[in-house]
């Protein structure tokens, strides 16, 4: 780890040594790093699956892997990326690290539960890994019945139980955050002085706490139905497979906001710092997070327009889907307006934030296409949908996550990352990303169904473009993976506040001491008030 010659002050990394001091730690910062390690592993694993998918799709016939294998590949790609990477990604790493620091607390409200939730996550993850190693699962990440309960010939129960378990880790993290944000804010830190990242983590936590139990019980029922051959969703046993879809999407639509809200929070922080301005329309951005969290629960039926859901229900869900797009629009416009008359610097995090805003806009707009009833009938279950969600999740959240990692890297490790390499990789990621996923919009509208192992030759040109893009993208992700590891040891030592930011986390040392602050800070200013900066840098 970091050598004591550079870090003269006691910090959370050097406070204790040894494997045990990490595995039994109750320090939210160390737990965040434990999560970071686990999550990075899962991301690269999911990425490897994506790579094989893309290579297979280079040619129309299914020639690289068998159909069964292909189906397992995209299922595991989806399951790992969603449940083991993206949902815990920002909340459990940056959120864990930053929530207490940003509100001036010594730790989360329940440190033991925080550690427990990491172990629960690892247990669930291990189960999914075990299922993967002994043969995998081929139901798609959506586990639709009756295929998953009565027909699939793979390890559905193990995987479902694995996801069921990780669900509890997500619930506990959310619960911990809500209690912490309510009860442990520093003196003077009123709700409207909170950084927007906190607001978005708060909104995310609401979804985690209220939504996750439903998917947990749904997957439990799938496992039970499959294990004991009793009818709950299987129509040949009297059940209703569409009911499963309702329960599944009741969680899984809100879950997409679990995946994007934290990213939005990061972008709010970054956009403000690198233009040295208050976020335009702070209250609108803050409230829109909560609005998204609440409205997000009302729209799940837009995944079921052709599922034989009633036409009236589809109508209601379509309408509500447009309602939830409004708060997202508010955010996009406010970020853009924040740039106006700012003092904009092009540090790597800002480049990622730009990427987020642009790509999220495209992903979101195509989301409203999908919410449009007649249009969705044509493109549902085609690559149009695949492109839509990768635009938001990879183009949006992944960008924000990388932006956030760069932005707080100095605080987390006490070292700077190499700026030139970082800028280069940001550019590569942006270009590679668009090349990968833009062609998918077109082939989706042309009718290329998703989850296809082999496909008619007229789609090949788009698949080739997409695969080419994916290779560029992979390089773009490989570069930061290398220089982050390098920077942990060899990076320039970081000052306490390298970016001239105003958040409380920047007012302590880099890396922070075990209890975050030498003295509990008292807050007297609104968030993003850069006039206090002069006092700070002088002092």
């Amino acid at each position: 780890m970091i050598t004591a010659t550079v870090q003269t002050r006691d910090n959370y990394l050097t406070h204790e040594y040894g494997v045990k001091s990490w595995l039994l730690t109750q320090d939210h910062k160390r737990i965040a790093l434990l999560y970071l390690a686990a999550i990075s592993f899962f991301f690269f694993l999911g990425g490897v699956f994506a790579t094989v998918i893309r290579v297979e799709l280079l040619t129309p016939p299914g020639d690289l892997v068998s159909s069964q294998t292909y189906n397992k590949l995209f299922t595991l790609h989806g399951v790992i990326m969603i449940f083991l990477f993206m949902i815990p990604s920002i909340p459990a790493t940056l959120g864990n690290f930053l929530v207490p620091m940003m509100i001036g607390a010594k730790d989360l409200a329940f440190p033991k539960i925080n550690l427990l939730s990491w172990y629960i996550f690892m247990a669930g993850g291990a189960l999914v890994m075990y299922a993967m190693l002994i043969g995998g699962v081929d139901t798609g990440w959506t586990f639709y019945t009756p295929f998953s309960t009565s027909y699939a010939n793979s390890y559905v129960i193990l995987t479902a139980v694995g996801i069921f378990i990780t669900g509890f880790s997500s619930i506990l993290t959310g619960l911990n955050f809500i209690v912490t944000i309510h009860r442990m804010r520093a003196p003077g830190l009123t709700w409207f002085r909170l950084p927007l990242f906190i607001w978005s983590m708060y909104a995310t936590s609401i979804i985690q706490v209220l939504g996750t139990p439903v998917i947990a019980v749904t997957l439990l029922l799938v496992a039970v139905e499959r294990g004991f051959h009793i009818g709950i969703f299987d129509p040949s046993l009297g059940g209703d497979p569409v009911l499963f879809q309702h329960l599944f999407w009741f969680y899984s639509h809100p879950a997409v906001y679990i995946m994007v809200l934290p990213g939005m929070g990061i972008v709010s922080e970054i956009v403000s710092v690198y233009s040295r301005k208050k976020v335009f329309g702070y209250r609108f951005v803050a409230f829109s997070s909560v609005a998204i969290a609440v409205l997000g629960f009302l729209v799940w039926g837009h995944h079921m327009f052709v599922s034989s859901q009633s036409v009236y229900a589809s109508l209601v869900f379509s309408f509500l889907s447009f309602m939830v797009a409004v708060p997202s629009a508010i955010k996009v416009f406010n970020w853009t307006a924040t740039l106006y008359k700012g003092s904009i610097s092009y540090d790597t995090p800002m480049l990622y934030a730009f990427g987020f805003i642009g790509l999220f806009t495209i992903g979101g707009l195509t989301g409203t296409f999908l919410a449009t009833l007649g249009f969705d009938v044509h493109v549902t279950d085609t690559y149009f949908v695949v492109a839509h969600f990768h635009y938001i999740m990879v183009g949006g959240t992944m960008m924000a996550y990388l932006g956030g990692l760069h932005y707080w890297w100095p605080k987390i490790t006490g070292r700077m990352y190499p700026e030139a390499w970082a800028k280069l990789s940001a550019l590569v990621v942006f270009l590679g990303f668009n090349l990968t996923f833009f062609p998918q919009f077109i082939m989706g509208y042309l009718g290329m169904p998703r989850r296809y192992h082999a496909y008619p030759p007229e789609f090949q040109i788009y698949h080739v473009l997409s695969t080419a893009g994916a290779s560029v993208l992979a390089v773009g992700y490989l570069i930061p993976a290398i220089y982050f590891v390098w920077a942990m040891r060899y990076g320039k030592p970081a000052p306490d506040n390298p970016w001239g930011a105003t958040g409380l986390e920047w007012q302590t040392t880099s890396p922070p001491p075990p209890e975050n602050f030498e003295i509990t800070p008292v807050v007297t200013h609104e968030a993003y008030d850069y006039s206090i900066l002069e006092e700070m840098t002088v002092g």
Partner: protein, 218 residues
Amino acid sequence: MANHSLALRHQFDDVVQQKDASTFGMWLFLTTEVLFFGGMFCCYTVYRSLYPAAFGVASNHLSLLWGGVSTAVLICSSFSMACAVNSGATGKKNAIVGYLAITILFAAAFLAIEMSEWHGLYQEGLMPGFNFTFHEGDARHVQLFYSLYFSMTGLHASHVTIGIGILLTMLVRAARGAFSAEYYTPIEISGLYWHFVDLVWIYLFPLYYLIARHVHQG
């Protein structure tokens, strides 16, 4: 007093904040539990609204007597749990231990009744997945009823079991004198959990046992 300052963990400023945070956290956890059971209640609602007749027929195969008794037993356990919390608040160590013991006994009785009921249903051939031999009328949806019945009472029973574990821990801690009138939050929180378990049953009872008693008496 020394006792409770020991119980203050470092991340909190004072005990009030700590206690508040704990109860608040427990309530949040209980909302997740509401939605956890909620997924199953949703299945129940949908299927009952689709197949009311089959549900009525199926329901009348459950024993109303034992259903009613187990409801009463759970309510009794809730009452004694409430008394345990009261004893906690007034700092009566022996009373806490006694009431917790009574609660645990009631809980165990509940489980025993439930097990015997399940056993009876199994013998009647009404346990889907193990022994389902019912063929009259809309047998498929009678089976659906029993699939849900066993899933939901099973999930509930697992909560009862966990509850017993928690209460036993509390009992041991109380007996060792870990609690006082100033510090009895764990007992209060366990109480919340226990009452929630009771609450679920308050709905399960009418929804499963009282659907169609007026139709086919018996």
